[in-house]
Symmetry: C3
Subunit: 268 residues, 3 copies
């Protein structure tokens, strides 16, 4: 069975960069199945890349290889990694792009030994083509994971997706991602904050205060922002056939303060 | 022979949504050949989606599966459909996205019985991943069409592509689509309005009046808008190395009034 | 082994044009592996297309077919070509899109005889679908190169990538491409202007003067534009985590005057 290789980068689609990587992968593994996740990650935005790959990988077949190249440190000493988790492989720089894989799955991390594992020249500015794509190509042609390089345990593990509790009833979280429809995906996981589905809450975003929950877009009153349990497993801020992001005027990384009324009283 | 699955959505390319659908399809049919039509349909614009898929499907091999997810009614009771026409399969919501398939081809429509045909959980907000992609995956691995669900005949059949005759010599049509080059694709089919190729006409778009026809871009005088028999089978409004849309200042859905001088006299 | 077909166009991703071409290719060669290079070439910008394909093709396996459709002359008498070079095939119009292939590789050029080689109707406005995609499909199913049509030697060969020497110490070049990160790719090949890596130079771009060289983005001082030997084989103008294009306020085609101090004195 040929292996799927997914690609997630901040390279955009106007340049030759993505195609150069694909050529390298097909040169090493001609039967690889290439699937773009996105190339429109905001340049250098590691948390956004971490969120997107964490949402995309799970639907693919086991054995798939997920290449993530958002890499402001290209050319420095930051390490190239391969992570194995839940039967999938993840290839990218040691800069936090796999943060949510680390927090959600048992994982084994290896630092790529480019000298022994690859056999090509390496430029200083395009490791997507010269390091990460060749590694993905080798894995796609089923070279053993153990040959990638030595196992490490000191890889960077940022926690982009953990709201901070600031008081009995209060948390501070953030906007992880704004999707095409203007939905704001928050860092509050629905499973951990299921309280909002049944009891009073207030989510404060700048000058705006959101106090209503919905389960489908169709049940929303137009012109108002709602909290909705999103398909990504996080609470999202949405509005009916409108951009909640524009309505609230906030962007990725903006703080979101949550107060859970009933819950806090119940446990105080 | 592996089956082609094409994808047409309004999901854009910045998010994980399209990749999540592709993972689901490959999980059920690992040898499916995935081809993007576009993910840049204007959000919720059903007529635009109907036009685009009607133009794209015909060049693909028989047996191809065309997934169209432009679905403002996700989470409501609108039905998921599979349409079989001309040896191709079409998967999407019952909201008019297949309007031109219905008007152009003999077709058989089945409502997807998600309980018997699929075997997965279904979220309320992402039926692309949870309903439509699994259906496409099942068809790609050659599950029989009859097993999709019961046949129906009361599917929605809007007529986005039929100009209305308003007088002996006059019709009112519309702009179906604006392409990347600023060409305005009208709802006037060249085959039905071939008159304009040989006799005087006037197409009125807002304050502008178009009276000239061309067959190639090269023969146009710069700075002027022309009618041209487009490759899509419709008359288009074009300008030489310039955006006719910007020149005329109109958008999708704008009215286009056509007068056929010779024809009307000849048949009056 | 199935053949790779890459696609480079100015069609954008909003319309059905690219998908229509892919359907045609898969109709003739169902096992072809389709890879997008980009569809975001600036409309009608032949030099930009020539640069992008020259950067992308080399990483792909031998036998790959590279389709380039940036074709302002569609419908006129400009000739459709197939070029064979370095074991790869290039399909596109005779308008200079293969300029850098011609200058870098031994090549054989054939004019497509559409009547004998293809067996389909040809519209006047969409040769991507009706001429170039069918040609790529035929090559992908291994029809012999010789059957494409007669060999020619008078194909257009512009030199987009050759700076002009204007004085002992001075050259005038240009901006070939601006990438997503705002890096300006110049027409100065690093191999020919390696002098700048070791001796004083000045590159003048409008009111700006660049006199510093860097090898990685990380070693740059923020807020300043540098020359850097780019992964494309050309000198690039870059800035650390910022858009050099915005910093300098110049675009594709802008003149870039280079003075090599040491070199000119040494050879005067």
């Amino acid at each position: 069975m040929p292996r799927v290789v997914t690609l997630t980068t901040d390279f955009g689609l106007r340049d030759h960069y993505v195609a150069a990587m694909k050529g390298v992968i097909l040169g090493r593994a001609p039967d690889a199945i290439l699937v773009d996740v996105t190339h429109e990650i905001t340049p250098f935005e590691i948390p956004e890349a971490a969120f997107v790959i964490s949402q995309a990988w799970r639907t693919f077949p086991k054995g798939s290889i997920h290449l993530v190249v958002v890499d402001p440190g290209v050319g420095t000493s930051r390490r190239p990694l391969v992570v194995k988790a839940a039967g999938h492989y993840f290839v990218g720089p040691d800069n936090g792009v796999f943060a949510m894989i680390y927090s959600e799955e048992l994982h084994e991390v290896r630092e790529v030994n480019t000298e022994t594992f690859l056999r090509n020249e390496i430029s200083r500015t395009f490791h997507g083509r010269d390091v990460f794509a060749p590694v993905a190509g080798e894995l796609a042609r089923r070279v053993a994971f153990g040959r990638v390089g030595r196992q490490i345990e000191d890889h960077l593990q940022p926690t982009y997706d953990r709201p901070v509790r600031t008081d009995k009833r209060n948390w501070t979280g953030t906007v992880l991602k704004i999707d095409r429809f203007g939905n704001l995906i928050t860092s509050y996981r629905t499973s951990e904050f299921a309280h909002v589905l049944e009891k009073p809450f207030a989510l404060v975003a700048g000058p705006h205060r959101i106090e209503r929950i919905a389960h489908t877009y169709a049940e929303m009153d137009p012109g108002e922002a709602y909290l909705i349990p999103g398909s990504a497993g996080y609470l999202e801020i949405s509005a009916r056939e409108a951009s909640a992001a524009r309505m609230l005027g906030i962007g990725v990384g903006a703080p979101l303060d949550l107060t859970l009324f009933g819950w806090a009283i119940g446990t105080a």
